[in-house]
Assembly symmetry: C2
Homo-oligomer: 208 residues x 2
């Protein structure tokens, strides 16, 4: 098994934190997407959508999409407590929060960043006004997450799950948009401080 | 159990087709999102993100997000063949394709439609240039799906799964963007014709 990634990107970090939480070690291959290494025919033959992270299986199958990769690894390395939830209702709540944070948070943040900075303008049209609108939507979404974290210790309930990983990567990412989690969002602040102390996350963050 | 929805919307149709495929009947409540009925405090107390579809459980729990609702219903009504896949690799491929079609297809199509038509301009800022860019990205994505359907009978492999439901709703939706699945996309055409004949889908489409 082999994981193609660019370690500092948010999508790669989602998988890296998941692996560290589960204690799974997989050989990694760095793909420099910023220089367009993912656009060459060799990589495109492996990755359906030309994106990272990409998991190469020993039987020659390839999986893209970070959540699909994590779900597969959870199933082949089951733990006593699953990061996807432990019964139908828990699993549904993990899926619900995972999607809410992705679709109203993380993906919106990506669109803000890409359209405002033009980081990939060599390969996509950027619409600055959409970047600004997306940034505002991220700000408008944060109280929904704060409210949830006022009611439960973790994003999807009483247990740490993949939804916390997604939310942690999202909240870490928005500093790139100059969005501050200030005192108006006390529950995100408290939860984020707890997250940052988890050994899996400490092991990935540069010490300084 | 009770399902809050607006039947003709794409997200409600995803759940409706899923229910029809599984033969599950649940009482429905219509919520007129176009007039903003989902924005009133009564509905917002039930739905975390103020959106439909929303599943009310008998114990007072609520689930939003169509895929979370479907996953829950699959688990409490297990069939011999799961619409989410039958082993770790199948389940990962369903998740992968489901996400590729959502994130590069359906959601992009929604952004095109909302920003071009201004259908919800009473409650969101619309950026027409982003609508046009999104429409183009939908067109650019279609060959990826066509190529996959050249290799397998269904979107995620040899079996009909929830990824086919998502793709069917996506391909049905893009006619609203004046995007035609023409002869340059023969595998989508053939697959779509097969989908349209499934009893679950026939039962939901208006006869004319």
């Amino acid at each position: 098994m082999k994981l193609y990634e660019l370690a500092p990107t948010p999508s790669a970090r989602r998988v890296s934190i998941f692996l560290a939480e589960k204690g799974i070690v997989i050989p990694r291959v760095n793909v420099d997407i910023r220089s367009g290494e993912n656009l060459n025919p060799e990589f495109k033959a492996k990755s359906i959508n030309g994106r990272i992270p990409l998991l190469e299986l020993d039987d020659g199958n390839y999986l893209c999409e970070s959540v699909a990769i994590c779900r597969y690894l959870e199933e082949i390395h089951p733990s006593e407590t699953s990061l996807f939830g432990n019964n139908p209702l828990e699993r549904a709540k993990v899926e619900m929060w995972q999607r809410i944070i992705e679709l109203q948070g993380l993906m919106v943040g990506f669109q803000a960043f890409r359209n405002l900075t033009g980081i990939y303008k060599d390969r996509e049209n950027c619409i600055e006004a959409w970047g600004a609108e997306s940034r505002q939507r991220v700000i408008d979404f944060l109280p929904t997450l704060d409210q949830q974290l006022a009611q439960s210790s973790y994003v999807a309930g009483d247990n740490f799950t993949i939804a916390d990983i997604t939310a942690y990567v999202f909240i870490s990412f928005i500093k790139n948009l100059d969005i501050l989690v200030d005192d108006s969002l006390p529950h995100i602040q408290a939860w984020f401080a707890t997250m940052a102390q988890r050994p899996a996350i400490v092991s990935l963050n540069p010490k300084n």
